[in-house]
Symmetry: C2
Subunit: 399 residues, 2 copies
Amino acid sequence: MALRGAPVEITLIDRRNHHLFQPLLYQVATAALAPSEIAWPVRHLMRGRDDVTTLLGEVVGVDAAAKQVRLRDGELIPYDTLVVATGARHAYFGHDDWAPFAPGLKMLEDAVAVRGRILMAFEEAEREPDPAKRAALLTFVVIGAGPTGVELAGTIAEIAHKSLKGEFRRIDTTQARVVLVEAGDRVLPAFERKLSDYALRALERLGVEVELGRAVSACGPDGVTFGSTTLPAKVIIWAAGVQASPAAAWLGAAADKAGRVKLAPDLTIAGQPDVFVIGDTATLDAWEGRPVPGIAPAAKQQGKHVADTIRRRLAGDRTPRAFRYRHDGSLATIGKRAAVVDLGALQLTGWPAWWVWGLVHIYFLIGLRNRLAVALNWLWVYASGDRGARLITRVEDAL
Amino acid sequence: MALRGAPVEITLIDRRNHHLFQPLLYQVATAALAPSEIAWPVRHLMRGRDDVTTLLGEVVGVDAAAKQVRLRDGELIPYDTLVVATGARHAYFGHDDWAPFAPGLKMLEDAVAVRGRILMAFEEAEREPDPAKRAALLTFVVIGAGPTGVELAGTIAEIAHKSLKGEFRRIDTTQARVVLVEAGDRVLPAFERKLSDYALRALERLGVEVELGRAVSACGPDGVTFGSTTLPAKVIIWAAGVQASPAAAWLGAAADKAGRVKLAPDLTIAGQPDVFVIGDTATLDAWEGRPVPGIAPAAKQQGKHVADTIRRRLAGDRTPRAFRYRHDGSLATIGKRAAVVDLGALQLTGWPAWWVWGLVHIYFLIGLRNRLAVALNWLWVYASGDRGARLITRVEDAL
């Protein structure tokens, strides 16, 4: 978007046909929003841009010498300047065998699958005669207490204690346990401590059991183990770690433990001045000496910096300029009436924070239609407690 | 719903957790609506009904002697009175091997898969250098010209010629071919002939090629054969035939060619007065000597008749009363500004018919939230031509 009007030809390659607004993905997983309300076809976003060719394709490698990107079907796309923004997946710290039992949230399909698991657990519990098995079906474990984990845990508690109330005949959904497990010593570790403390109390008010200082040592079909405790649970959701895309391997670049490309200060790779890497797949200490956080505003600032650099180079100025991250603030919700907003000087909690959170997220959605649809759904959930997207759809039934 | 307040205990069993408004399923397949906008959790619909226990489970048999329904996991559900309303799937007239190449539309998953195929064909065409292969990717064949087939063909033509215009750089989507193949001699055979003729002209105005009197003899990965013609096409959608659920086999009842249970005039099975069968899985000549049509209003009238019969029996009156179907009318749309409405005495075409069609469909949706959401989406599509749910989601990527 920041290259609009520049004398360049842009090829935009993505393996998905849609841009996804990840901050609201958990709301798809918790049945408040439909997938299409937080995603928009990339091609449609670029429809007025004759300078942009959109291709649906999966990048599997980069030939830096020949200046070509290689797609899975063998097609080679030439470039003068390459911008890699291929993101990250959730990661299990070397325990990929946990993935089937503790799915994470990065794509729309993940969210729809998690939504199905949560809703299906209540359905199975309603038909389960064995009390121990029923208890395991009604125990929901969220691993990781960053914003996604906190939001998920708070919302699952609301679903069990409020949305589903009165709908079951054999089980009491208000007896469901929601357990949030965090290896660190507080929830929302990126926020000021007093906001972490507020979030902890808000979670506990919603009935969430928060287990701090507990590193998970196993996830399996019957539950999760942390410390010496094994908790029988059928629904485990992973919100703990990320692994960068293979961009470092494609580019032969140095990477950190999580696979993030280590950048030069101008967002290029050492020795490859025409290759920029931005967003969650890169790392750079450009936030007053600390690493740039893996959040959308940081990626957008980097995109703007790269576009500025390209424009300056086209004007003949190839002096590298260092990227500096400017932190505008951190936001997280805990259920439908509590939130924390940390703007540095200004810190908010409770319903004022919830409204700021809601307005900011609607503002950053793309397109009037999605803004209207999300606002309508939120007002509906807020007023009625009902969730409109409570669908269990089964992958194996699909043609 | 019609048994509300009657002195009965109701167990409502469904293998899906949601009630689906099938008349708008094609709008999910064509990216205008999200799945959750035309579906509603059964359990939620029954939340205020203490007399109703909702179970998510798949019926696999009925033991009429013991008066028990058998679920897939072995659970037996006893009954005094059984009402079977298990519907129908699309069917290929004995050619089930066509299914992978010509999916039909009966469930949400079908619609999401068809949506993905339609959108993916344009994406692949954009990257296909071979002109013949590109033409096959841009040829969309719909088989069967009942309301679903006509609505699909009209809407795919609008997507190609309007919604996607200006979004591709290598292909011209307005060159896409949409072919509607029908074995009979007119489209919308259940309507008055002059409405069929209008629908044919409306389809042709949208650029749909209509092939009448053409029975399909083969569907495969490369295209469809009808008569002596083989048309290379990558997207084929089946809207031609249905097959009833296995209810007749469960009940040991007589069935017609499509597997529909043959009913006694009071909607029971001969010799089993406590078993009612209604909707698409049954057949009865109760429309002035003709079979009751396989449409939602007919199933609703039957449901009402069964509830009345149960109430009368509880009051001591076991005299069988014959069900009579009352036809209120037929409606179909062809794209976003044309429709046909056949109310017998009153017949409408064009935009007045489109508004009647739209208002009737919004009225019959369940729940204020869904009505608002669908109305908002339709106004959006109507005004802008954009379709908000243009997502290609891949089953194999899901966890």
